[in-house]
């Protein structure tokens, strides 16, 4: 049914390099969250901290009453059974074929018979469209297929939390939209909590229930999708609309001169908010809210043309 992830005052640095500081947010159970941020803001580090692969310098990550950041190794291995993680390159075990890769968690953690395992593995392979490639080695298939195989492996233990590390990097736009649809359908089907790390603006505008934005070593904003998409906050606005005008520069943040030079530039109006991607069977997800509800409840007028189509406000070329 999905579990809540409660992150409190998380700080991480590598030696003297501060990655981010004071990150506090609660990922609601069963909802889809996207963590956004310019390259190098520590999105993947945040994801690895959520599963206890990296220890934060301060703060806590609480899942089902266990603080992952400060618990014993034994508890950590127990709690990780709740997780399914899709790594950037799929992280398939190179010495096993795809079937054995997907079956691996079942063989290690359950006492199921081989015929039961076969049934589950084939079901997951079918879900990600990899039937026919079961006996290929990870080295013999494309990056997109590796990624989908990684997803099948992440789902095989029926996780309560699924983490995606850049599911769309290295995929073509068509596969990306199929994958986005798959993510939404999966959430409708298994009701797990999804956390997606990406910097693909188009996916983030249509897929999630909540969006978080990491910028300049802190969490700039976290909240419902409509809140961020209608926000006038310069960083959020610049990033979610992929513009050059704003506080984010090429390397890190812009200096005062560059910002002053931009100060008289007219900002383009906020684009309309697109409709959220719905499950393909038409039955709304449990966590899905009616379009425009948040704006209405908070007295915000969404930009004109909002909630008309799923493509509204998407960057050209997609």
């Amino acid at each position: 049914m999905g579990v809540e992830i409660k992150i409190e005052n998380l700080t991480k640095s590598f030696g003297k390099d501060l990655i981010w500081k004071g990150v506090t947010l609660t990922v609601p159970a069963g909802e889809i969250c996207v963590m956004l941020g310019p390259s190098g803001t520590g999105k993947s580090v945040l994801l690895k901290t959520l599963i206890g692969l990296l220890k934060p310098n301060e703060g806590s990550v609480i899942i089902e009453g266990v603080d992952i950041a400060n618990c014993s190794e034994k508890d950590l291995y127990e709690i990780r059974k709740l997780f399914g993680v899709l790594f950037q390159d799929g992280a398939m075990f190179g010495s096993m074929n795809l079937y054995d890769n997907v079956a691996f968690p079942l063989r290690e953690h359950t006492k199921k018979s081989e015929s039961d395992i076969r049934k589950i593995v084939m079901e997951k392979m079918d879900l990600v469209g990899l039937i026919g490639a079961e006996y290929k080695l990870p080295g013999e298939i494309s990056g997109g297929m590796r990624k989908r195989a990684g997803l099948a492996r992440a789902l095989v233990l029926d996780p309560e939390i699924v983490l995606f590390d850049e599911p769309d990097s290295g995929l073509d736009p068509v596969r990306t939209s199929f994958l986005n649809q798959l993510i939404v359908d999966l959430n409708a089907q298994i009701d797990a909590t999804f956390v997606i790390v990406t910097h693909d603006v188009n996916s983030c505008r249509t897929v999630p229930d909540n969006i978080g934005l990491l910028y300049h070593k802190h969490l700039a904003m976290f909240g419902p999708r409509e809140m961020l998409l209608s926000s006038e906050e310069p960083v959020v606005r610049q990033f979610l609309n992929a513009q050059r005008v704003g506080p984010i520069g090429m390397s890190e943040e812009k200096d005062a001169d560059e910002l002053a030079a931009e100060s008289d530039q007219e900002l383009p109006p906020l684009p309309p908010i697109p409709l959220q991607l719905a499950p393909s069977n038409g039955i709304p997800r449990r966590a899905q809210r009616p379009p425009g509800e948040w704006c209405r409840l908070n007295g915000i007028t969404p930009p004109p043309g909002s909630f008309m189509s799923q493509n509204a406000g998407l960057a050209p070329g997609s």
């Binding site: 690895k48 291995y77 993680v85 790594f87 950037q88 075990f93 190179g94 290690e108 953690h109 990684g150």
Partner: protein, 262 residues
């Protein structure tokens, strides 16, 4: 040259500490069930397959060199009747375990470090931890045990091939008498020499595997990091092995009474 800060100067001590902590983790995981029998057998076979032929090829000239050196020296002393005994002692006590260790570290250890390093940078180890499986128990323990097992067997191989090589050189090339060579085996050598040779091989195999696994699992920074890890693991293993060999030899002479010949 980069400035030498205290942090940088003390870094090797930190690495040594982490290596030691890793070794303790491995020893603790040794007793965790379920034991990974399949992985253990696969790794044993793999390490044996990459080391047997090189070991045999190294052992022949090794035994020959020892026979030549010892034979020459002993002739100068006028104690030809002890030639066989001396070369057996040299091969079984030291040359065997050292040659074994160099090959286990150079062939087996480098393969292990490369394998684990590649898994590390492809995030396979992370994926394994996330799937709730401890890579130390699943991957490292079988490799360490496999290395120890193979090292013991290889030590036997080196001893036999080395002694045979010594026999060949002494009898055929140095005009020694076969009977005297064989008869003098037990003059100075004793059973304890074999036991300590085997024990050394066991310990060397363990050190080689632990260092290789540690370096591989801590590889970083892309494909170059894997190359560095392999290189470092071989160098560090060699350094450690020679020190440990010295310590174990010294202990052996203190603890086990030696034959006086005759």
């Amino acid at each position: 040259m980069a400035t030498l800060t205290p942090a940088k100067a003390l870094a090797p001590i930190g690495t040594a500490g982490k290596l030691f902590a890793f070794a303790l983790d491995v020893i603790r995981a040794l007793f965790k069930r379920p034991f990974q029998l399949r992985e253990f057998l696969q790794q044993s076979w793999f390490i044996a397959s990459v080391t047997i032929i090189p070991t045999a090829l190294v052992a022949i000239p090794f035994g020959a060199v020892i026979a030549l050196q010892v034979g020459g020296l002993i002739k100068q002393f006028g104690a030809e009747s002890f030639t066989g005994s001396a070369s057996v002692l040299a091969v079984v006590r030291n040359a065997g375990p050292i040659a074994t260790a160099l090959l286990v570290a150079g062939a087996g250890g480098s393969a292990i470090a490369a394998d684990l390093g590649a898994r590390k940078i492809r995030e396979e180890l992370d994926a394994m931890m996330v799937l709730g499986i401890d890579p130390i128990q699943r991957l490292v323990v079988p490799r360490v045990l496999a290395c120890m097992l193979v090292a013991v067997f290889l030590n036997g191989l080196v001893s036999v091939v080395g002694v045979a090589g010594g026999y060949f050189f002494n009898v055929v090339l140095q005009d020694g008498t076969p009977g005297a060579y064989l008869a003098s085996f037990t003059a100075l050598a004793q059973l304890a020499d074999i036991w300590q040779g085997l024990l050394k091989a066991l310990v060397f195999g363990m050190i080689a595997a632990i260092v290789a696994c540690y370096m591989g699992m801590n590889a970083g920074g892309g494909p170059k990091g894997v190359g560095d890890a392999v290189n470092q693991s071989v160098v560090i293993t060699f350094l450690l092995l020679f020190v440990v060999n010295f310590v174990m030899s010294a202990l052996y002479f203190q603890l086990v009474p030696q034959k006086t010949g005759g």
